[in-house]
């Protein structure tokens, strides 16, 4: 604990206006409504407690907005125009609070009122956080005309990223999210995920699992601050001795490229590794044609319609499947139905919208 170096925390906040609107709806729609304003005040308390843990701790806050991503605050380059200081508050806290709140308001106002919301810039925010961590973990050297803080001169011991997400997965962002997960692994960055609203996100679940972070799907949304402080405030090394909630079961299933359904047995193109839920004669990604012989063989070896269904349900029961229960109908059907390709796209779409399949 006498380590002179501080921990670095990058927080990625999902600021999707639509999702926050849905999240703030009153009881019939939500059991525990959570508007953005009350979320922000709880987030600020969490950020302040991170800074209070240790003087050397550093902080960066990124916002993911529709179609773009911005840095809201970073402790290495604080805001240029300092506000009038309140004599009743601790200046660093005040600085974080005002910067984050004003920048968030600015960015949300700048969004305007488009008819259709662009996809969320979550990937951009995550890669920015990674670039920022890469920058501060590098030895100081060449930043001209800039004061070297303590944080800059020493290597961060445990950088981590906390993603506070309210949006469902976006199928198109699968590859970039995977790439950022792998680079986080290389940088030894832990990614923690807190899903505040909406369905479970498979991508972020995998992100937390692969980088050794924790994934929490918020149940009592009125207790957000408690969740944040209990599970995300301690750095990963301390979490080993605390009992932080862990994921019980991780889905390594993939989404097929053709209908975006989640499959457990898929057909993979040997050239580009595109995944399909049924044998196809031509790969849609790289236009490779597959030999007829293989197609016939694969079609013959596919499980008969009802077999998979029964094995799934019977053997599935001993395994704690509570989390992924809603997915199972969508999962079993595409593989089990052999000829009913007519229904498949419809199923796929519905499962995509509810379940945000990968």
């Amino acid at each position: 604990m006498n380590d002179p170096r501080g921990d670095h925390l990058s927080v990625v906040v999902d600021l999707s206006p639509t999702q926050w609107h849905l999240s703030a709806l009153q009881p019939p729609a939500n059991v525990y409504p959570l508007p953005l304003s009350s979320f922000l005040s709880q987030l600020l308390a969490f950020l302040n407690s991170h800074m209070a843990c240790k003087h050397e701790n550093t902080l960066a806050v990124f916002g993911a907005l529709p179609g773009k991503s911005v840095m809201l605050y970073s402790s290495t380059n604080p805001a240029k125009n300092l506000q009038v200081m309140d004599s009743n508050s601790y200046p660093p806290f005040k600085l974080v609070d005002t910067t984050v709140v004003t920048r968030t308001a600015e960015e949300l106002d700048a969004l305007g009122d488009p008819d259709e919301e662009e996809p969320l810039g979550l990937v951009g925010a995550m890669t920015k956080a990674l670039c920022y961590i890469n920058r501060i973990t590098l030895p100081p050297a060449q930043i001209p005309g800039k004061k070297q803080g303590i944080s800059n001169s020493l290597v961060m011991p445990e950088p981590r990223i906390l993603v506070l997400s309210v949006s469902p997965d976006h199928a198109t962002s699968y590859i970039p999210i995977m790439n950022s997960i792998f680079s986080a692994q290389k940088l030894k960055v832990t990614i923690d995920v807190c899903q505040l609203y909406g369905p479970e996100t498979v991508f972020l679940q995998q992100a937390a699992h692969l980088t050794g972070g924790s994934y929490i799907h918020l149940e009592r949304r009125d207790a957000l601050l408690q969740y944040l402080i209990m599970s995300f405030l301690p750095p990963p090394s301390i979490r080993k001795v605390l009992s932080v909630p862990t994921q019980d079961k991780i889905d390594f299933r993939a989404a097929c490229f053709c209908h975006k359904t989640i499959v457990d047995v898929g057909f993979v193109c040997s050239v580009c590794l595109s995944i399909f839920c049924q044998p196809v004669p031509v790969c849609s990604t790289c236009r490779t044609k597959f030999p007829i012989k293989t197609l016939q063989r694969l079609n013959a070896s596919r499980p008969p319609p009802n077999a998979t269904n029964t094995t799934r349900t019977t053997t599935g029961t001993p395994v704690p499947q509570s989390a992924s229960n809603p997915t199972t109908p969508a999962l079993t059907q595409p593989t089990s139905t052999n000829g009913s390709s007519v229904h498949r796209p419809a199923q796929a779409r519905s499962s995509l919208s509810q379940q945000s399949s990968m």
């Binding site: 991503s69 840095m71 970073s74 990937v123 951009g124 890669t127 920015k128 990674l130 670039c131 920022y132 890469n134 920058r135 590098l138 060449q142 930043i143 800039k146 590859i175 970039p176 995977m178 790439n179 950022s180 792998f182 680079s183 290389k186 940088l187 995998q206 692969l210 862990t246 019980d248 079961k249 991780i250 889905d251 390594f252 299933r253 993939a254 989404a255 457990d264 047995v265 898929g266 057909f267 993979v268 193109c269 040997s270 050239v271 580009c272 590794l273 995944i275 399909f276 196809v280 490779t288 044609k289 597959f290 030999p291 499980p303 094995t311 053997t315 001993p318 395994v319 704690p320 990968m358």
Partner: protein, 446 residues
């Protein structure tokens, strides 16, 4: 051309010098051969030039690693660091930006020379120790980039080919095979033919859509073969086995021929660093050359559709059960989606139903080879700076306000690099980081 202290060498063709680390050995022979080589030779030559101040290993009386870094007028090392960055960038820009078909599922046999010539000390501590050390790093890096690949290890010792490690997709198994140094003690003469025959037979059963590669690390200048090695070579060509050779001593005609005929890469290591470079050049999946393939028309015989299973990972707290691979009671593991067998580690083939089991992150790890980030354009000093962003789009580092006085080729004088898709500007460090590690542009998110 690298500096030569010896006057009598000046007349030797510069091309052939580079792959000639053993001075008194074959000076005249290489001189004649050097002229016919082009292609790869050029790149080797470029490398030699880049490491300008470095003498050859056998010429250096002691290591002068500090000579490669030059201080600038202000006494700082920044310019040297930037030059290194620029070199990396230039190499990346040379790479084809268009989509290249690459082999994703690779099978590699690492042929290690364990003959007595590996005990030479021209590479410190010995060629043998250095080879083992680099081989370990190579294996780790290789599996990182080719998660669906498999590596087997064959040694060349006492005139025989010796199987050291079976073909395996688990890096730990492969590393374990070469972990015990005393079991690999070099002795006797190497036999290329025996070893290649052995490697060939271990790969004969592999499906056609996967690549078959042999990487030879060869320290000897001789090979003692029982038969005609050219016959072996011909069967390798027929079986589409790609042979690459990293020689530690000098260029041998048969090695060069093997690489040329099978489409592999050949290189002679000049020193320790170059040895590592040559080895690590073979880590990224090789591009498939359409012209060389037998039926290079509309159908590619190498392509195939594979059936794969994506398992579910069981938590640590689940009830214990036996795994099919070790017959041990375990609580964690993966369930085969087809037969529900419990498997300890993936990727693997299910022991019960034979289904290939991978996790989707394993597949995704290869996607960046297929969808690379476009190289960023260099922003020239002449472009107006006034209405541009003042800080890097990714890490918010402020850009320098005044253009640097001396900018080397491939570097932006204003320290800005622009994405051709989203037109955001990035600093040089983020540029390198994005292209080497993240593989995803923070501006456009692809």
């Amino acid at each position: 051309m690298p500096p030569r202290r010896d006057a009598e060498y000046m007349d030797v063709d510069s091309d052939s010098d580079i792959s000639l680390p053993d001075d008194d050995y074959d000076g005249s022979r290489a001189k004649g051969k050097g002229r016919s080589k082009t292609g790869e030779r050029k790149s080797e030559k470029g490398k030699g030039k880049a490491k300008d101040n470095q003498a050859y290993t056998w010429e250096a009386s002691y290591a002068r690693s500090w000579d490669t870094v030059q201080e600038d007028e202000a006494g700082s090392l920044q310019t040297s660091v930037e030059e290194l960055l620029a070199r990396g960038r230039r190499r990346r820009l040379l790479a084809p930006a268009a989509a290249v078909r690459r082999t994703i599922i690779r099978h590699l046999i690492l042929l290690l020379d364990l003959s007595s010539s590996m005990m030479d000390r021209d590479m410190r501590p010995t060629r043998f120790d250095l080879m083992l050390q680099y081989a370990r790093e190579f294996i780790v890096e290789w599996f990182d980039q080719n998660p669906l690949g498999q590596i087997g290890i064959v040694g060349m010792r006492a005139g025989l080919g010796e199987k050291i490690g079976h073909m395996s997709g688990n890096p730990q198994d492969v590393l374990k095979a070469i972990s015990e140094r005393h079991k690999l003690e070099p002795v006797g003469e190497p036999s290329l033919q025996n070893a290649i025959e052995m490697a060939k037979s271990t790969m004969s059963h592999l499906p056609t859509h996967s690549s078959r590669e042999i990487l030879v690390v060869f320290g000897s200048l001789t090979t003692c073969d029982p038969g005609n090695i050219h016959d072996t070579l011909d069967t390798c060509v027929k079986n589409k086995i790609r042979i690459s050779v990293v020689a530690l001593a000098a260029e041998m005609k048969i090695c060069r021929e093997m690489c040329d005929k099978t489409g592999g890469q050949f290189g002679v290591a000049m020193n320790e660093g170059h040895f590592k470079d040559l080895l690590f050049e073979l880590v990224p999946p090789p591009a498939q050359r359409a012209s060389r393939a037998a039926g290079a028309g509309a159908t590619n015989p190498a392509a195939d559709l594979m059936m794969m299973g994506f398992p579910t990972r069981l938590p640590d707290a689940s009830p214990q059960s036996f795994c099919v691979c070790h017959n041990e009671l375990k609580s964690e593991g993966y369930l085969c989606p087809r037969c529900q067998a419990k498997i300890c580690d993936i990727p693997t083939d299910c022991d019960i139903c034979g289904l290939m089991i991978v996790s989707s992150p394993h597949l995704a790890r290869s996607y960046h080879h297929l969808f690379p980030v476009k190289p960023y354009e260099i922003v020239a000093a002449s472009e107006a700076l006034s209405e541009r962003a003042t800080e890097c789009h990714a890490c918010s580092r402020p850009f320098p306000l005044t253009p640097a006085a001396s900018a080397t080729e491939g570097m932006s004088p204003v320290g800005r690099y622009r994405c051709p898709e989203c037109h955001n500007e990035f600093c040089s460090e983020c540029d390198v980081f994005i292209h080497d590690v993240v593989h995803c542009c923070p501006g456009c998110g692809k």
